[in-house]
Amino acid sequence: MERMDQSAEAQLQVRFVTKQETYAVPDVPFSVPQNIDTSRLNKLLNELLRENAELLKPTEFDFLVLGQLLRVPLIEHLQEFNESIEATVEIEYVQRTPAPEPEDALLHDDWISGIQVADKWVLTGCYDQTINIWTTRGKHQVSAREHTNIVKAVCWLKQGDPSGGFVTVSHDLTGIIWKWEPSEEQPKPVTVLRGHERGIDAVGVSSNSERLATGGWDTYLKLWSASLDVEDCYEPFHKKIRGVQGKATIARTPLHTLKGHKESIVAIQWSESDTICTASMDHTLKLWDAELCGLRNEVVAEKAFLGASWSPLSRTIITCSADRHIRLYDPRSTEGSVCKTLFTSHTLWVSAVTWSQHNEHLFMSGSYDECVKLWDTRCPRAPLYDLSGHEGKVLCVDWSNPKHLVSGGTDNSVHIFKNRQFN
């Protein structure tokens, strides 16, 4: 009885707002108990929606208070931000990101070190020096062995278009540009990228698919032409070198070599048409100008980076380092710390991160603790979902196709999760 009285008297004025017109409710303040949580807010909101419009099925919402997702009772959330409970609290609600659904697991022969999805094709690079292409349905389409050492990273040349070819880089100091049509059995290596002195760890293709950048243990960032045309003659020269397996492939030399990193480059992404974002083990993030071939910006951190991803939607960089934290950097900010948010939930090193291509708040991460997590930047304390399934360290994740969240790891398998927002 007493408890009821208490809860009855501890009321808060809230107002619901949303940016999704279909779920709009009248802009009137409501009185809710202080310790209301997400599920009860959901119930309340669904009631309201039923009154206003004839929404048939109840929808799950997430609630944003003060720019952060509500995960604890409202009062605790407000207290955490030292916010007054006198004023009317504005609660923004968004449709909750549905939980990804495990779709398939693609079993390989060795560790998966690189993965990217284009349309329904999953391209993987493997420690057994092969590259494989699968459909998201789990059908193995292609397996090719051209590299002589472990393949470290793979990348489609055209986003979402498998016929545009792909590039793979390996610890055999070379990268290979491949040509492949979905109908073909075997991809054809177009050209070999020669120039690196040590293993290549990362590759990135520019948004217009004209150039690509590679970086690795020799600390150099090299820019290459991404053209599939062998006779494309804006390159200085071509060389004919006999491939290791006796196949004649044409070698291509880098357009530019950018020096600046002191240790190996672990992640490369073209942020805009002429900017390359690189992360390195020497604790720095560097933004390069691909046109002028110079350093544009630099972010120095405390830990060695293991991965990074730049989002064209939010224009920020999410990074993972040799510790259990994921850090969000805003390279544009000048004052204060460039590290904006710390996401901590993994228990071991986080090896890979990638932004969602459709939502500026979502990203996924894979870690050595055998876990893939889906995050919302507005909720730094806990991930939205844990995507379990791996039985070994996760080495690579990809979310290029908004429909599929894929990850590969040392358990030799690629796990595909379906994003239910897009089915």
């Binding site: 560790w111 070190s113 420690y127 472990i150 055999d172 100091l173 002195e197 040590r198 293993g199 243990w217 020799d218 240790e263 190996s264 083990m281 020497d282 405390e302 830990k303 060695a304 293991l306 040799a322 510790d323 071991l348 090193w349 090896s351 050595y368 360290k393 080495l395 040392t410």
Partner: protein
């Protein structure tokens, strides 16, 4: 108000006087009037005799009598007669008056006979006014004696005195009888006008006819009273001072009490006596604070006393002394000569030594063991000539009771001796140095400030099936090589924990070392009694291929290898299958090799065979493919050798000592004394001036080679034998691993400043390995670039700790 009216009347009459100057009749009238007034007063004072009578009544009475004032002429005549009498009579009259006016308490009236002392008590403030009036009256009588000639003046004088007396009285100002109503203003304001002010009725008071100089002069000549004539500024009239006035002025001038009647020597009435009364004069008791000594005063006194003591303030004597001293000032060249002894006593007072307290022996009834037996007594007696040698200066005695204790015969003497001691023996303060043991421990910085350093287990490299004795990394921090008891060498990718290569050998791997020369891709592997030069074929293929090319053809040399070396080691080319595994050269030794190490340039390497007697250390050269035996004599059981990172020095650790040899001069430079039983391994700081030595007896010793041959610091952090110790190449870190499975990370900062000793702070203990066969951690190795550390354990795993 009757009185006001009265006054008005007076003033009005005065005006009359002024108008008709010579008319005596009117003057008489005036007198009459006065008498009337006086009568009034007298009557009223009569009535006042009855104290209970109300004032109102009195007023009514006086009113009535005022109405009748003109009729009372008889009384007036009587008065006149009295005036004719001499002074004696006057005194009588006064007496009469005083008798008449009951309550006349003013002393000036009583001075004549002093009979009014008893009337003081009767005096009444209300009455006093009337009394004054009566005195005025008396005065007026006196003036009448001056003669008729000056009647008018007299009259005025009278009025004046009335006015003055009014001032002197208690009356409030509204009752003042000021004929001129201008008030208390400077009268020169009216200098310009013909009038002096305004009377009660608002009429102008005209200035009297001005006298010219001649008149004044004549008057001075004629008038015998000219000297006592003054001008009243209020009225402009000339006023002749009475004798009383003159007397008063004289008294004031003579600085006497103006009032003649005042008794200066009146008997003293003691209100507060020195005698203690039974009841207090004041009702309330003394306040508590009057019994408490004032703290403020005490402080003040203390302050003053201190100031005096310190010589900040000086007593008068001292000041005089100083002043006297000041005259001829001569300065002492040596200040100590004339320093005051007093100050020394104040500052450095040395208390007399305390006497020993009496013990059991001094007791009148000491326990039996304190009593002398025969032998002791004999001994005591023997030392008669040198009593200071005796243990006790007396013979303990036993008495039944305190009563029976006789007087102590030596009391006076002992007191005297004590005094002599105090007087003659100089006392001095001995400075005692008290150092807390805590103060000697240096303040170590907090580990939080010394980051980064490895703190958490991040990766495990699993693959070996037996204990891993040794690990090493390549220069870029990409690969890790490990050698295990399962006779395999494994190459690992550091970042992912992937085993890239496994090379099977024939025997237990005791030591692996990656070539520090970045243009060579070589690993030295000590496997059994073989040392294998291994090309791992990872990383830069160009370097790998070049290394292969370099090592492909053995250089042919003319130098004949001595018999001693030939029996020690044999270089041979690898066989085909060995070559495929990566072997590039194989050195077969005559004894088991426990350790290999590279020289900083990557051409020379040293092998250690502890059982090799005088051939236990062997230095090989990759480029020439030959070996040397640097030492001809056995120095002991060699445990470990190291090359100095920059100088041509070789560190050789035997069981108990570390010897440093100069390889160029071929001589012993230094011998480090470890003071331990058995050295296990050592590592040198990249700067080359500091050496860490791990021992099997649980210690880690830090030698500062510039400092001394003894350890700069001994760290006893491990519970069991320490097997691995390592410096970080870049960060000021070192780590040690032991059989108790614990890895201890410490901060070891070496400063460029030669004056500053290295700072050693133990930071973290990490315990993740499992124990196997009582072994814990075998080898510790830092990542070449990151603040990460690898440990290899007996449990067959390698662990990576990162920050």
């Amino acid at each position: 108000m009757p009185k006001e009216r009265l006054k008005r009347k007076i003033s009005g009459s005065e005006k009359q006087v002024e108008d008709v100057l010579e008319k005596q009749k009117e003057e008489d009238e005036d007198e009459n009037l006065w008498n009337v007034v006086n009568d009034d007063e007298e009557d009223s004072s009569d009535s006042d005799g009855d104290i209970e009578e109300s004032e109102e009544e009195f007023k009514i009475e006086s009113d009535d009598e005022n109405d009748e004032d003109h009729s009372n002429t008889d009384d007036e005549e009587e008065e006149e007669e009295e005036e004719e009498e001499d002074e004696e009579a006057e005194t009588d009259d006064d007496e009469d008056l005083s008798e008449k006016t009951v309550g006349n308490g003013l002393r000036d009236e009583s001075d004549v006979d002093g009979s009014d002392n008893d009337k003081i008590s009767d005096s009444n403030i209300d009455n006093s006014k009337h009394n004054n009036d009566s005195t005025n009256q008396k005065k007026s009588k006196n003036t009448k004696k001056q003669g008729l000639k000056n009647k008018i003046n007299e009259n005025k004088n009278e009025t004046k005195t009335v006015i003055e007396d009014e001032y002197a009285d208690y009356d409030t100002s509204d009752e003042e009888d000021i004929r001129n109503t201008v008030g208390n203003i400077p009268m020169n304001w009216y200098d310009e006008y013909r009038h002096l002010g305004y009377d009660w009725d608002g009429n102008k008071i005209l200035k009297p006819e001005g006298q010219d100089q001649l008149d004044a002069f004549l008057k001075r000549i004629d008038d015998p009273d000219f000297w006592r004539t003054v001008k009243d500024p209020q009225t402009g009239q000339e006023v002749k001072l009475t004798d009383e006035d003159v007397k008063l002025i004289r008294r004031i001038q003579g600085q006497k009490i103006p009032d003649e009647t005042f008794d200066e020597y009146a008997p003293w009435i003691e209100w507060f006596t020195s005698e203690v009364m039974k009841t207090p004069i004041r009702k309330f008791p003394e306040h508590k604070r009057s019994f408490l000594p004032s703290k403020y005063e005490e402080k003040k006194v203390e302050k003053l006393a201190r100031a005096l003591k310190m010589g900040w303030i000086k007593t008068k004597e001292e000041q005089d002394k100083l002043r006297a001293k000041k005259e001829p000032q001569f300065y002492m060249l040596w200040q100590t000569d004339d320093q005051a002894d007093e100050m020394r006593r104040i500052y450095k007072h040395i208390p007399a030594p305390k006497r020993h307290l009496p013990g059991h022996a001094e007791s009148y009834n000491p326990p039996a063991e304190y009593l002398f037996d025969e032998k002791e007594l004999k001994q005591w007696n023997k030392l008669k000539d040198s009593p200071w040698k005796r243990k006790l200066h007396f013979v303990p005695q036993k008495f039944d009771s305190l009563r029976k204790v006789p007087a102590y015969s030596r009391y006076i003497k002992e007191r005297f001796l004590r005094c002599l001691d105090l007087y003659l023996c100089p006392r001095a303060i001995k400075m005692k140095l008290t150092i807390e043991p805590e103060a000697l421990v240096p303040k170590l910085p907090s580990p939080r400030d010394l980051q980064p350093f490895p703190t958490v287990l991040s990766l495990e490299y699993v693959g070996h099936s037996d204990m891993i004795r040794t690990i090493d990394t390549d220069k870029t921090g990409q690969y890790l090589v490990s050698g295990s008891d399962d006779c395999t060498v494994k190459i690992w990718e550091i970042n992912t924990g992937r085993c890239l290569k496994t090379i099977q050998t024939d025997a237990v791997i005791r030591s692996v070392k990656w070539c520090p020369n970045s243009s060579l891709s070589l690993i030295l592997v000590a496997s059994g009694n073989k040392v294998i030069l291994l090309n791992p074929h990872v990383g830069d293929t160009l370097v790998c291929n070049k290394t292969d090319a370099v090592l492909k053809d053995a250089p042919t040399t003319d130098i004949i290898i001595s018999e001693r070396v030939r029996t020690t080691v044999e270089w041979r080319e690898p066989e085909e299958d060995e070559y495929a595994k990566g072997y590039r050269a194989v050195l077969t030794h005559f004894k088991e090799v426990t350790q290999v190490t590279w020289h900083g340039r990557g051409d020379y390497f040293a092998c250690v065979m502890p059982d090799g007697q005088n051939r236990s250390v062997l230095i090989g050269q990759v480029s020439k493919r030959r070996s040397q035996l640097p030492f001809s004599k056995p120095k002991g059981l060699v445990q470990c050798v190291l090359f100095h990172p920059s100088k041509p020095f070789l560190f050789v650790a035997t069981q108990r000592h570390v010897r440093i040899y100069d390889l160029m001069k071929q001589m012993l430079v230094k011998k480090l004394l470890t003071n331990c039983k058995w050295i296990s391994t050592m590592d040198i700081h990249p700067g080359g001036d500091n050496l860490l030595v791990a021992t099997y007896d649980r210690k880690v010793l830090w030698f500062d080679l510039d400092l001394s041959t003894k350890p700069y610091q001994t760290l006893r952090l491990h519970g069991t034998a320490v097997r691995g110790v390592s410096f970080h190449k870049r960060y000021p870190l070192f780590a040690s691993g032991s059989d108790d499975k614990s890895l201890i990370i410490s901060h070891g900062m070496v400063y460029n400043d030669l004056m500053q000793n290295p700072l050693i702070v133990p930071l973290k203990r990490l315990q993740n390995h499992k124990s196997a066969n009582d072994f814990g951690i075998f080898d510790v190795h830092f990542h070449p670039l990151q603040p990460w550390v690898f440990t290899s354990g007996a449990d067959g795993t390698i662990k990576l700790y990162s920050n």
